[in-house]
């Protein structure tokens, strides 16, 4: 029974939260519209209604979806590779101090070097088509690596001792002990890295200008001083970013729930 009560209270709370969120959103949209009227120059600021109209016009074109698809696919590949290698490297680094010490400055450099420098450097090495793959990878890798490594190192020594006494095998230790202890760190890393990869990947496209990408459209908007286009694409980028985050969280939730509820 108490669980039922809890649930209904939580849902009521959620409804309240959404109400507040909508109000806040409405407030800022209104401020945006007021600012547009005050400035009254389409080249500097476009109002939300104009942006919506432009976005609606964009989404019915095939080119819009092709560009979003191409950008998304490339960034997703870079991101996925970063998650895989980040977890793998963290696992190795947690065991071998040499690897940890060797990787530390490398990850530090990846975190500190500005995206723009990386983009120009990468353009010298690979074709602009692969640019966003590499940039998404470079942005996500140090975040995933550092967080997962921290999670592994924070794994309860008491639980590991328990496993040692009972002779729990390595695979089971990873699957049951490390996985649960590292999961919160992994989630935080993935959420942060995904948003960063997406933004940096598109920034890279603006510089590298691969065909049929979001970055290319942003660049065109700049060249033609097409501010409504710039705003509409930006809104599209934000929407994709929020959707990706939400999808990723849901997927991880599902995995966690299934994993935890096993009899």
């Amino acid at each position: 029974m108490p669980r039922g009560v809890d649930k209904s209270r939580r849902e009521g709370g959620r409804l309240g939260t959404w109400g507040v969120r909508l109000l806040v959103l409405g407030f800022w949209l209104l401020m945006w519209q007021v600012a547009t009227w005050a400035i009254n120059a389409r080249i500097i600021l476009v109002g939300p209604l104009d942006v919506l109209a432009r976005l609606c016009a964009l989404v019915i074109t095939g080119e819009f979806w092709a560009s979003v698809g191409v950008s998304l696919a490339r960034i997703a590949v870079g991101f996925a590779l970063a998650v895989l290698s980040g977890v793998l490297l963290a696992a190795i680094a947690s065991r071998a101090r040499v690897v940890r010490e060797l990787l530390e400055p490398l990850m530090g450099v990846m975190k500190a070097v500005p995206v723009a420098s990386f983009v120009i450097l990468v353009l010298l090495w690979v074709s602009s088509s692969y640019l966003s793959v590499v940039i998404a990878f470079v942005m996500a890798l140090p975040i995933v690596y550092t967080n997962v490594l921290e999670g592994i190192r924070q794994t309860s020594p008491q639980l590991l001792e328990m496993c040692q006494v009972f002779g729990v095998g390595t695979l089971e230790r990873v699957r049951l002990v490390y996985a649960s202890q590292v999961l919160p760190y992994f989630r935080a890393a993935v959420s942060l890295a995904l948003a960063l990869s997406w933004k940096a990947g598109i920034a890279a496209e603006v510089i590298g200008l691969p065909d049929f990408t979001i970055g290319e459209h942003l660049y065109d908007a700049k060249v033609y001083l097409d501010t409504p286009d710039l705003f509409a694409w930006t809104v599209a980028i934000v929407i994709v970013s929020v959707a990706l985050d939400s999808l990723m969280n849901r997927a991880l939730d599902r995995v966690a729930v299934r994993w935890e509820a096993r009899p």
Partner: protein, 205 residues
């Protein structure tokens, strides 16, 4: 024949000498109740025979390949897993019929010691309930040598009776080292051998 043996074991933590040349032979297939004042080294003794600590000098002998099980002073459970998943941990990954058979055994065990049989993670259980899960994980493992570090601490009389009713038959033929403060626990463990840890030595009473 002894299953677990200490031969002139010395163990100190910094300037604190816990065991000073302690020797003891714990007979195989029997329950050994280990008592002694607080801080005398009972937990250290268990950690040594469990292989979690190395002696400074002397030798700790545990039969080669013997499987071990332990109830620690803390529960040491995987918080976000169910009671059954926790109890199954020492068995590795069971599948199909093997899993079903073991689950049935686990559910009987949970009910016998008065624990809820559901799919809640153990983090939602009370301290006393978690303790019982830790005890079941140990006795339902395939270990032939079991270590208990004050397993009944803080448990009420009725729960102790339920737990012991289920537990005692499962200790038969296994070598058990049972550390406790409470002299009454000796009565709960029929035909057990009593040991005393005191002043750095382990002696049979």
């Amino acid at each position: 024949m002894s299953a677990v043996e200490l031969q002139g074991v010395e163990k100190s933590y910094g300037s604190l000498h816990v065991l000073r040349g302690a020797s003891a032979a714990f007979e195989e297939g029997r329950v050994h109740v280990v008592m002694g004042p607080s801080g005398a080294g009972k937990t250290t003794l268990l950690r040594l025979v469990a292989g979690l600590e190395a002696p400074d000098a002397g030798e700790v002998v545990v039969p080669e390949g013997a499987r071990l099980g332990m109830v620690f002073q803390e529960d040491r459970l995987l918080d976000n897993l169910t009671a059954t998943a926790n109890i199954r941990l020492p068995h590795g990954r069971l599948r199909g019929e093997e899993l079903e058979a073991f689950l049935a055994r686990e559910r009987t065990a949970l009910a016998s010691v008065g624990l809820p049989v559901d799919n809640r993670p153990v983090s939602e259980l009370s301290g006393g309930q978690r303790r019982r899960v830790a005890i079941l994980r140990c006795v339902l493992s395939e270990a032939s040598v079991l270590f208990f570090d004050e397993p009944l601490k803080g448990m009420d009389v009725a729960t102790v009776a339920r737990v012991m009713d289920y537990l005692v038959p499962l200790l038969a033929e296994r070598t058990v080292l049972w550390v406790t403060h409470d002299p009454k626990e000796k009565e709960l463990l029929p035909s057990s051998v009593l040991w005393d840890v005191r002043d750095g030595a382990v002696s049979r009473l």
